[in-house]
């Protein structure tokens, strides 16, 4: 009996999962390419982490920036935007518009104190189930490393790195809220006004 190999310790249920953070990721897919890629990954039984939950839009061009902010606000740790490859859009060129919005959104969330890596863009054609699954696994790993979305992570910083909260507080932190910003959304004007 003494020759019996030592039994590996049985992992305690929950103990391991308590140390592993399981993020929740919202993925926006287009009806023609990336949603079909997800279908294909399913048909081919290609495995990927269960952390992503997909929403079907007709086109990545339908992605309203509000959708992404809404997902973060509702508790998503990351958002994945996916569509047809550039040049292969079912609607000819609308994924380029999604790309433009994506770039703008990444800067916006950064200004809101969210790491830009929490918003990811993945192109996948209808034939690329394996690729989509791989990208989901990659995004999941990256977000797992980032940890839970700790929003707010800090003060509101505008795209030029000016700390708007600090600037506001420098004005005396008026209880009635931020001062009216003349000149609208132009951050230069905003900063001038705050100074």
């Amino acid at each position: 009996m003494s020759t019996q190999a030592p039994v590996a310790p049985v992992p305690v249920e929950g103990a391991a999962t308590a140390t592993t953070f399981e993020p929740v990721i919202i993925g926006f897919t287009c009806n023609w390419c990336s949603y079909r890629a997800a279908d294909l990954a399913g048909t081919a039984r290609t495995k990927y982490p269960p952390n992503v939950r997909l929403i079907r839009l007709m086109c990545s061009g339908r992605l309203d920036p509000t959708f992404v902010l809404k997902a973060f606000a509702e508790g998503a740790d990351a958002v994945m935007v996916s569509g047809c490859h550039p040049g292969e859009c079912h609607y000819i060129e609308q994924n380029y518009k999604a790309l433009r919005r994506f770039r703008l959104l990444q800067r916006t969330i950064e200004a809101l104190g969210i790491e830009p890596e929490r918003l990811q863009l993945v192109w996948a054609s209808a034939a690329e189930g394996v690729r989509l699954a791989g990208e989901i696994a990659r995004v999941t790993e990256e977000v797992r490393a980032l940890g839970p979305l700790d929003w707010p992570a800090g003060d509101i910083v505008d795209v030029d790195g000016v700390n708007l909260d600090a600037a506001w507080e420098a004005t005396g932190g008026d209880e009635s809220g931020p001062p009216e910003v003349p000149g609208g959304a132009n951050p230069d004007h905003a900063v001038e006004a705050l100074q």
Binding site: T17, E22, P23, V24, I26, W32, R36, A38, D39, A41, G42, T43, R45, T46, K47, Y48, P49, P50, N51, R53, L54, I55, R56, L57, M58, C59, G61, R62, L63, D64, P65, T66, F67, L69, K70, A71, F72, A73, E74, G75, A76, C84, H85, G87, E88, C89, H90, Y91, I92, E93, Q94, K97, R101, S125, A126, A127, A133, L149, W151, P152
Partner: protein, 694 residues
């Protein structure tokens, strides 16, 4: 509604939830009864009045659960959690409609393709299924009844490309009694098939089987043949396309020309024919591509015509008895209205010069497959004599190399499908014409169609020597006895594991097929998708291979990938059948997924105008508002997302529906427990929406 049914109060939302086991496909990974139980309890406040699980929701009894519950329980929203909407959305919408509800009040959410089939951890998959189901429930609350849009179908059809696939499609539709416009960019229809000598595996003479079809298409009362023409612009939508066609100047009056051919005889200018004769033969500056051309009306090649070059000559005009030559003819634009379009634009061949080590273009006796077709063709430049580039010497040994540019990571990954059979045909023809020794270098022999493998056996028995291996090089640098003056094929024979140097007189490169050089521009012009290579993408590669994802635009033949003649003909006929079905119905229903602009809210900023690739949005300068043509709108929703005034609504995918679905999807965390919402002060979505809109 039956008397014992529950009548929902005004504004009350009553949702039925149905979770499918799909045998063990879903239930093997997802705890289906638990998901249904959870929905009944936790989503009660969302309006779920019944949540059932069933073994196969798509079966008749499964569908009856839905229809019966609508009647008996007064449901007014349905959520089915089962497979992908691309598979069964229509099934459950139809079942919903049978229960008396508008079909668009039903949502199908995928817990199979996106959950049970791709995950292994049952707890995590069950949690995800709950989230997906909650997303569907939140979304369906915001669904509104939609009515399909009905459009009339114009009975005329545009066929683009006059190769064998396009000709077949044209004849099928014309024979059924409907008008067809057949547009061909070259001077004659016939396509690549007209260049071939024999067709595998039957060795039918290509011209003998093709030309009767060409003549039928050219003379059919229902066919308007537009050769030397190109489609430059397409507007409209299924049933109602408007196509602009540029008829290039032929410099010949088509209404007068009889096709007698005297102009070609008298034209003093010989030009190397790079297209039809693959650079091996000559044509005149005024020419028809080949003798059996349809139509028989020649064109003047402006680049090479002496009159256009120097201002003198006019030999053709002098000898033309009908006075049909028109040197002042201009390109002409014509506009046609059609209901459906079939694209049969074919392929280009791989440029063998790209593989420098095979020496094509450098070593004279290396030929491409298309050149060999012309050499072996009795109507070709050598009258069917297989000879070396000097035009007289018959080869004693010939090497045929498969997979040139195909199955090659440096060029095209795909198999060009026709080259094995083409190579075997060449092996047979070389034997027949010259009696030479033939070496056939192949990677794998792919002869999978009716009669193909029998043909392979026949060529084996004829004594062709097969070497399994992809040649590394073709060189004229002989260094062993018997190699001088020869082309040496350096190859690893993978069956014996030995390097071999095989001296031959002639090498034929079986070049692959690739998408037309302008394939991507064409895809944009017709609003279809194509792969990264440039092959058109089918609506479904198996179940709908001749349709595209654009309603009313069909594809046939090699436009969607390499095919042999039988497959191209089948696709031509199949595309025609699809079009005829549409024409017979006279009308068709379109998905009501469209954008609409609320004129009251529209500020007239015109941001949306430039975003629409279909030009569906027009600006009314009198009222200073934009509006959308519903029939032209393809429903992508880009304008909906861009409108700063929130004046555009995208039916089927409204902001309310998507935002609600996000909320539902985030109802539970990865562990299935309620998810913590962000504590950020603007986390209430009303505030964010307002913030974004501001």
């Amino acid at each position: 509604m039956s008397g014992n049914g529950h009548q929902p109060a005004e504004g009350e939302i009553r949702i039925g939830v149905y979770v499918c086991h799909c045998g063990s496909n879903i239930a093997g990974t997802v705890d289906v009864p638990e998901v249904a139980r959870w929905a009944a309890e936790e989503l009660k406040d969302q309006g779920v009045v019944i949540a059932r699980d069933y073994r196969f929701m798509c079966s008749s009894p499964g569908q009856e659960l839905v229809t019966d519950d609508i009647v008996n329980l007064g449901l007014n929203r349905i959520v089915v959690a089962a497979c992908s909407p691309h598979l069964h959305e229509n099934t459950f919408r139809t079942a919903t409609a049978r229960g008396g509800l508008n079909p668009y009040l039903c949502e199908l959410v995928s817990i199979r393709e996106q959950d049970s089939w791709v995950h292994t951890d049952k707890a995590a998959a069950t949690a995800k299924a709950k989230a997906i189901l909650a997303g569907g429930v939140e979304r369906v609350r915001r669904n509104t009844p939609l009515e399909p849009i009905t459009v009339d179908i114009n009975p005329a059809t545009l066929v683009v490309g006059g190769g064998i696939a396009g000709i077949q499609a044209t004849l099928e539709i014309a024979d059924a009694g409907f008008p067809v416009y057949l547009v061909e960019k070259d001077a004659s229809i016939g396509g690549h098939m007209a260049q071939f000598d024999k067709t595998f595996p039957t060795l039918d003479c290509a011209a003998c089987i093709l030309t009767p079809r060409m003549v039928s298409a050219g003379t059919h009362p229902n066919v308007t043949l537009l050769t030397w023409s190109e489609v430059t612009h397409v507007d409209g939508f299924v049933g109602n396309f408007t196509a602009t066609i540029r008829k290039k100047a032929r410099y010949v009056d088509e209404s007068l020309c009889t096709g007698c051919g005297i102009c070609q005889e008298k034209c003093p200018k010989n030009v190397i024919d790079e297209v039809y004769e693959a650079g091996l033969g000559y044509r005149k500056a005024i020419y028809t591509p080949f003798d059996q051309a349809v139509p028989r009306i020649p064109v003047i090649d402006r680049e090479n015509c002496t009159y256009f070059e120097k201002g003198t000559c006019k030999a053709c005009e002098k000898f033309c008895e009908k006075d049909a030559i028109r040197f002042d003819q201009q390109d002409e634009e014509i506009t046609i209205k059609v209901g459906n379009i079939i694209l049969a634009t074919g392929y280009d061949i791989f440029d063998a010069r790209q593989i420098a080590q095979y020496g094509y273009g450098r070593l004279p006796n290396v030929f491409t497959s298309l050149e060999f077709e012309r050499l072996s063709n009795s109507a070709g430049p050598t009258n069917g004599r297989v000879v070396l580039r000097d035009g007289v010497t018959e080869p004693k040994t010939v090497g045929i190399i498969h997979c040139v540019g195909s199955r090659d990571r440096n060029f095209n990954n795909y198999c060009s499908a026709i080259c094995c059979m083409q190579s075997l045909k060449f092996a047979h023809l070389v034997k027949e014409h010259t009696g030479a020794t033939v070496y056939d270098f192949y990677i794998d022999m792919r002869t999978a169609a009716k009669g193909y493998d029998e043909f392979y056996q026949r060529v084996l028995e004829e004594g062709t020597l097969f070497v399994r291996g992809k040649p590394a090089e073709v060189t004229e640098a002989g260094r062993l006895p018997g190699e001088e003056g020869k082309l040496i094929v350096q190859v690893e024979d993978t069956l014996t594991g030995r390097q071999r140097r095989i001296p031959v007189d002639m090498v034929v490169l079986s070049v692959g097929l690739q998408p037309r050089a302008d394939a991507k521009e064409m895809a944009v012009r017709f609003g279809i998708s194509c792969s990264f290579d440039g092959w058109a993408i089918e609506k479904h590669p198996k179940l709908d291979p001749v349709a595209t994802m654009t309603e009313g635009v069909f594809i046939a033949g090699c436009v969607s990938g390499p095919k042999d003649i039988p497959a191209s003909v089948s696709q031509g006929a199949a595309a025609a059948a699809r079009v005829l079905g549409r024409i017979q119905q006279k009308q068709m229903n379109l998905e009501p997924i469209k954008a609409t602009i609320d004129a009251e809210s529209c500020s007239g900023c015109r941001i949306c105008n430039a975003l629409c690739p279909y030009n569906a949005i027009t600006f009314d300068s009198a009222k200073a508002v934009s509006s959308i043509n519903a029939a032209m709108c393809q429903g992508c929703g880009t304008c909906v997302a861009a409108c700063p005034a929130d004046a555009i609504t995208g039916t089927g995918f409204t902001d309310e529906q998507v935002l609600a679905q996000i909320e539902g999807l985030l109802r539970v965390g990865a562990d299935g427990e309620p998810l913590k919402r962000s504590s950020y002060p603007v986390a209430h979505h009303e505030t964010i929406e307002e913030a974004v809109r501001a």
